[in-house]
């Protein structure tokens, strides 16, 4: 269903924030829109420990060739007893599994039983400060796994699914029951190391990942077999590695784009959260490291003018040039502030919507340049992962169709960009719908970027979550199938699809 034109014209007249501030005109409508600011936070209301298996029907039969399970992860528990988190990233992780085939969708969900969760469940309250929330009486946080909420993404490997955080260990999940089987330990020397939420699977099957620890001045690099066993782990020195959320790979390289965020460790900063202690160095630059996959040493370095991004699209080698798709985000501090406001159910401040960007690194000339791509204000970029690290033609991502300034936080539009023709296609959900990451699922019988795009949405009015399927080459035609659960799920982060 497309956006209603009447809502668009109301928003076009004047800033809703302005209306609310003046207390003027159209009080009913302004009040209703201001009330929508609570929609994001309302997704965390009354979340059970577990969603038992529920089966619903799609409105149309799925295409042949589309059958499997979408596993998603995300922050789910924001309140425990009389303690509450103030930032989305703090919530304890919950795995959602959506199994679909034919015309049926079967869903179940379960919290990741981390050590943190178990201790806090026993105590009836949150015991440790988290990334975005500090508690005056917090137990000491001595190492990253103390506050590991395993809440960002998943990595399906062999017969299990790993629940991923970024500062600490991965946790092992049974793909059928979603029970937590324990903490993933790859080897004695890597036990307890950070393992990021954005591993990349090479077309060869090799799994590459990294980990960072603020203050260490290092990155740890992982090479895993397709079955998820450790082949190599290596430390490299890395500047600007105080917070590193994502990376990219190409045929020959691991690509690290390191941003000038500094962590302030000084004593006497009680009351401020870990997040508050990160400062953006506007005088700094972004360091880019290309690590040779064979030697696991830095082969090339580049410096570019600073920008902030959480996520990258794909990256590839184009002759002697490495190209990286970068989903630039609003500046770090304002974005974190907006997420805090949204988590508290408050109207959010305006933030910028920078353009999607391609970085080009010329290996022989040792020069770097950045080009804007024809979409802005986008995130959660996804592509055909059969071609990770090789040139891909389409990038799929999420956007906010509400005009600026928007007092609500959350995406409500799916976007595809054809990198060859520059053609942009969009599908907007109804205005109050909040859309989560939509990922590309390949049609294994066909070539690159042929297949489907699958994603979930939260309806704050009806309190339900739906799953939608699109044709990847025609997302602007809208979903070809939709299934709606009788419940709503907490708004999450990233997922992966397992065919079968």
């Amino acid at each position: 269903m497309n956006r209603r034109e009447s809502i668009q014209s109301v928003l076009g007249l004047s800033s809703v924030v302005g209306l609310a501030a003046l207390g003027a005109g159209m009080p009913g409508r302004a009040h209703a829109l201001a009330g929508n600011a609570g929609d994001f936070a309302s997704s965390y209301a009354q979340i059970p420990e577990r969603y038992g298996a529920t089966t619903v029907r799609f409105d149309r039969a799925l295409p042949d060739g589309l059958s499997g399970t979408l596993f998603r992860n995300g922050p789910a528990r924001m309140v425990r007893g009389d303690t509450r988190y103030h930032h989305w990233f703090d919530g304890d992780g919950m795995i959602q599994a959506f199994r679909f085939s034919g015309q049926s969708l079967r869903h179940q969900g379960r919290m990741v039983a981390t050590r943190k969760l178990s201790a806090e469940a026993d105590a009836g309250r949150f015991l440790w400060s988290a990334f975005g929330t500090s508690f005056a009486d917090s137990r000491s946080v001595r190492q990253p796994d103390d506050i590991n909420s395993a809440n960002i993404s998943v990595l399906p490997v062999q017969d299990e699914v790993l629940a991923l955080w970024e500062g600490g260990s991965a946790w092992r999940i049974d793909p059928s029951t979603l029970e937590t089987k324990g903490r993933r330990v790859f080897s004695p020397s890597t036990d307890g190391l950070p393992f990021s939420a954005h591993p990349k699977v090479d077309p060869s099957g090799t799994i590459w990942n990294f980990g960072y620890m603020s203050g260490s001045g290092k990155l740890v690099l992982y090479e895993l077999t397709a079955a998820g066993s450790l082949k190599r782990a290596r430390l490299i020195d890395a500047p600007n590695a105080e917070m590193v959320h994502d990376f990219a790979i190409t045929e020959r390289y691991l690509v690290f784009v390191l941003m000038p965020l500094r962590y302030d460790r000084r004593p006497g900063r009680g009351g401020s959260s870990f997040m508050d202690r990160f400062q953006w160095d506007a005088e700094g630059h972004v360091d880019i490291l290309l690590v040779d996959k064979n030697s696991l040493t830095v082969a090339h370095r580049f410096e570019v003018a600073p920008f902030f991004a959480f996520h990258f699209g794909n990256a590839w080698e184009d002759g002697e040039t490495v190209r990286i798709e970068v989903a630039r985000a609003a500046a770090f501090k304002p974005l974190m502030n907006v997420i805090t406001q949204a988590t508290r159910g408050e109207p959010v401040d305006p933030i910028s919507r920078p353009p999607l960007m391609e970085l080009s690194l010329n290996l022989s000339g040792k020069t770097a340049s950045a080009n804007d791509l024809p979409v802005s204000g986008v995130d959660f970029p996804r592509f055909d992962q059969r071609f990770t690290g090789r040139k891909t033609s389409h990038l799929f991502m999420m956007s906010d169709a509400n005009p600026e300034p928007d007092i609500t936080f959350g995406f409500n539009q799916l976007v595809s960009l054809d990198r060859r023709s520059q053609r942009v296609r969009r599908w907007s959900y109804a205005p109050r719908i909040i859309a989560e990451e939509h990922l590309f699922v390949p049609d294994q019988a066909k070539g690159e970027a042929n297949g489907w795009v699958v994603g979930t949405t939260f309806d704050p009015e009806n309190r339900t979550t739906s799953l939608h399927v699109f044709n990847a080459r025609g997302i602007d035609d809208g979903p070809i199938a939709t299934a709606t659960l009788p419940v709503h799920l907490p708004l999450g982060l990233h997922g992966q699809f397992v065919a079968g």
Binding site: S129, S140, A233
Partner: protein
Amino acid sequence: MKTHRTRLSAAAACSVAALLTAATPAVAADLTLNVSNIASTDGSMMIAVYDSKKGFDKKSTYRAINRRVEQAEMRVVLADMPAGEYAVMLFQDLDGNEKLDTNMLGIPKEPWSASLEGRSVFGPPAWSDVNFKIGEQNVSIKISLN
């Protein structure tokens, strides 16, 4: 109690019994360590008490105590502590190798804590993170191992 050299202990051979039976001079105080949230009863708790920044930085202990873990909580009393500044570091030696095992980033793999009093640290604590004063009054320190 068996006496043995550990990575933490410099001096000898103080047995816990000796610590508890010393006569109490007029101005010396007791230090009680209340260690809680011990998850397993494997191995021994290796406790190091430092009485100066210099000693702490050099890992030269004032007192070193090894106590077999039997329950989820452990109380250790050090009597007759002269007035001064102290710090306590401890770990549970699960594998009995008398070392705090760490991974390749130096993050401990065995449960450990210190007289942090709720402070959070990234990496090994500095003296300023863990020091506390003993004066004329008895002092109790709570240390959670989880």
